[in-house]
């Protein structure tokens, strides 16, 4: 017993050291990819802006309170992004809008990943009837283009932020279920999984401690790309009037409001669109970079 104690501790030290070095190695390789690094820095800045939006711009004073005397002013030193039809500062609304757009997308993707991940892991690990049932249900969901599925759910539940999150989350569950299932299938017959089963690790423990950590690569990449798609879909649904509604600022809703002034105040439609595009671009660059950094063939 005495002799086994130092052994266990050294094994766990080794495992921890390896985990850290693997993370470090992935990060080092990610940093070598300049485009991915630019994407990552852009996203960090954006997330910080979203978090500290209230510190930078008072929500009530800049995003809600109308100031008709300053309506539809083109970008200037005083208003970097100009003002909208109610005289509200567009920069403040874009910064607060980033909070809404990002949080909707992150929550929806997190939910989709959680539910889809569990379903995919169960389908891949157990196979047989469970796999068949879960995958056939996913086939039904995937037979409807994601955007249309989200539209149908929001149309049925009504326009609100909660319903928008539900719609986007539900429509991303089948994609995650498929990705996780195929990732689980690649590792479930590995010797270390057999070993875990042989030493009596329970099914849940085997899935969460041995299988999922070893197939995180494709899941992380897919999550990044999925957030990009969800930001686009959030904006699209709000643009159609099925998502976030005025006066709450959200990038798609801002764009939708701006289209009525396209003739004389084109910046109102232009600037929110650029924000959406740059964010999706940054996520795509990061996703591509992560894919390369996590691909063992490119080591």
């Amino acid at each position: 017993m005495k002799s086994s104690e130092p052994k266990t501790s050294s094994a766990s030290d080794f495992s921890a050291a390896q985990k850290t070095s693997q993370l470090k190695e992935t990060f080092r390789r990610l940093c070598q990819n300049k485009a991915a690094l630019v994407g990552l820095i852009f996203l960090i800045v954006l997330v910080l802006l979203a978090i500290f939006a209230d510190v930078l711009f008072n929500y009530q004073a800049t995003c809600v309170k109308q100031n008709i005397a300053e309506r539809l002013q083109w970008p200037s030193v005083q208003h970097w992004f100009g003002t909208d039809e109610f005289g509200r500062d567009l920069l403040a609304r874009v910064v607060h809008g980033s909070r809404v757009s990002l949080s909707i997308s992150f929550i929806a993707v997190a939910f989709g990943l959680f539910v889809g991940g569990i379903l995919g892991a169960v389908a891949g690990f157990f196979g047989g009837a469970a796999d068949n049932v879960i995958m056939r249900v996913c086939d039904v969901f995937l037979a409807v283009p994601m955007m249309l599925m989200a539209i149908v759910i929001v149309a049925a539940l009504g326009s609100s932020i909660t319903n928008l999150v539900i719609a986007l989350a539900i429509s991303s569950v089948p994609t995650f279920a498929r990705i996780v299932r195929s990732a689980v299938l690649t590792v479930r017959d590995m010797e270390y999984v057999e070993a875990a089963k042989a030493i009596g690790v329970k099914t849940g423990g085997t899935i969460f401690h041995y299988i999922l950590p070893n197939c995180m690569g494709p899941i992380i990449v897919q999550t990044t790309l999925r957030i990009a798609a969800t930001i686009s879909n959030t904006a699209a649904l709000s643009f159609l009037g099925l998502g976030v509604v005025a006066p709450r600022p959200e990038w798609g809703a801002l764009l939708s409001g701006g289209r009525n002034f396209i003739r004389d105040s084109g910046y109102l439609a232009c600037i929110p669109g650029i924000c959406i595009m740059l964010t999706i671009l940054a996520l795509n660059l990061l996703g591509d970079g992560l894919r390369d950094a996590l691909d063992p063939r490119l080591k």
Binding site: V137, A143, V144, L148, I151, L240, G258, A269, M277, N284
Partner: protein, 308 residues
């Protein structure tokens, strides 16, 4: 091959039935009474109850679903709440417009994407490759509806060259098709490039060069055909995306297609019409996927032998 096609069509049936079940139940979660919507605010409780009975809305949901399915098998998608006419007739009047728009957008994106992807792969790591891939990356990141607005701003408002909305002349389709096809062009060219880069490194390409074949023959006959499979997969997926994207494009440009009809139906809470639009798009998406699967066999003889 025939057996495979039959098997794939047979597989489509339960999936489409599943979609009808899913959409039917989701749409019935919608608050509000259809009879009330049809009769308006001033209808009495008695009138509403009579209409509910006539429409079978007082039946359990499962009974309503089975009846819907029975009608569907006879080509009857129900009656629109807002116009009172047949959903099939309404959709079929709009469907040619969506097909026309999707086809023009798909052809346009393919005509641009394939040469762009091939040139980028052949001229790998040159400025041509970098520029085409930056364009592609921006393309996949650009929201369809924003591009549509920017095109309107430039070509309709500033330059006055093309109409802002409608489907009156051949000019009307140019901007909707560009906005719908640009994103697909970008992702198809990215996929074509990466699969061509991989194919161009194969031994048989080196052999073809060693045999003294011309570069064009090697690229088009040896590399392109072998590198087509991932591209075909993406084309199939992108046409599905286009069906989703057509909702946005048709709304921005007031294009009288099924996508716009669906948004109008959602705003009017016209459940049968929404269901009809979704079903039609789902069937189209499934058929496109089937065609893509069959194209694998046409392009790749190895896949063809698997069917035998």
């Amino acid at each position: 091959m025939g057996k495979y096609i039959a098997k794939r069509i047979a597989y489509m049936i339960p999936v489409i039935l599943g979609v009808t079940l899913l959409v039917f139940f989701i749409m019935h979660l919608a608050p509000g009474n259809p009879a009330q919507i049809i009769l308006g605010e001033n209808a009495t409780a008695e009138q509403i109850a009579t209409l509910e009975h006539e429409m079978g809305l007082d039946q359990p949901l499962l009974v309503q679903y089975v009846r819907y399915l029975g009608d569907l098998l006879h080509g009857d998608l129900g009656t629109s709440y807002s116009s009172g006419s047949s959903v099939t007739t309404e959709i079929m009047a709009r469907f040619p417009y969506t097909i026309k728009l999707t086809l023009v957008a798909a052809i346009m994106s393919l005509v641009l994407a394939l040469p762009l992807g091939i040139i980028a792969a052949v001229k790998q790591n040159t400025w041509v490759d970098n520029v085409s891939m930056i364009v592609a990356l921006i393309g996949v990141s650009m929201p369809i509806f924003w591009l549509a607005l920017m095109l309107i701003m430039l070509f309709s408002v500033k330059l006055g060259w093309l109409p802002v909305y409608g489907a009156d002349s051949w000019k009307s389709i140019i901007l909707p098709a560009i906005s719908l096809g640009f994103m697909n062009m970008a992702s198809i060219s990215r996929t074509t490039r990466s699969s061509m880069v991989e194919t161009l490194r194969q031994d048989y390409i080196r052999t073809a060069y060693a045999k003294g074949l011309s570069k064009t023959t090697i690229i088009m006959r040896h590399a392109f055909r072998n590198g087509m499979l991932p591209t075909i997969t993406v084309i199939g997926l992108e046409i599905g995306q286009m069906l989703g994207g057509s909702v946005l494009t048709e709304t921005v440009f007031a294009w009288p297609g099924v996508g716009r009809l669906m948004i109008l139906a959602i705003n009017a809470r016209d459940t049968p019409l929404v269901m009809g639009c979704i079903l039609l798009m789902t069937v189209c998406f499934s058929v496109v996927n089937l065609v893509v699967d069959l194209l694998y066999g046409v392009v790749d003889p190895r896949v063809r032998t698997m069917y035998r």
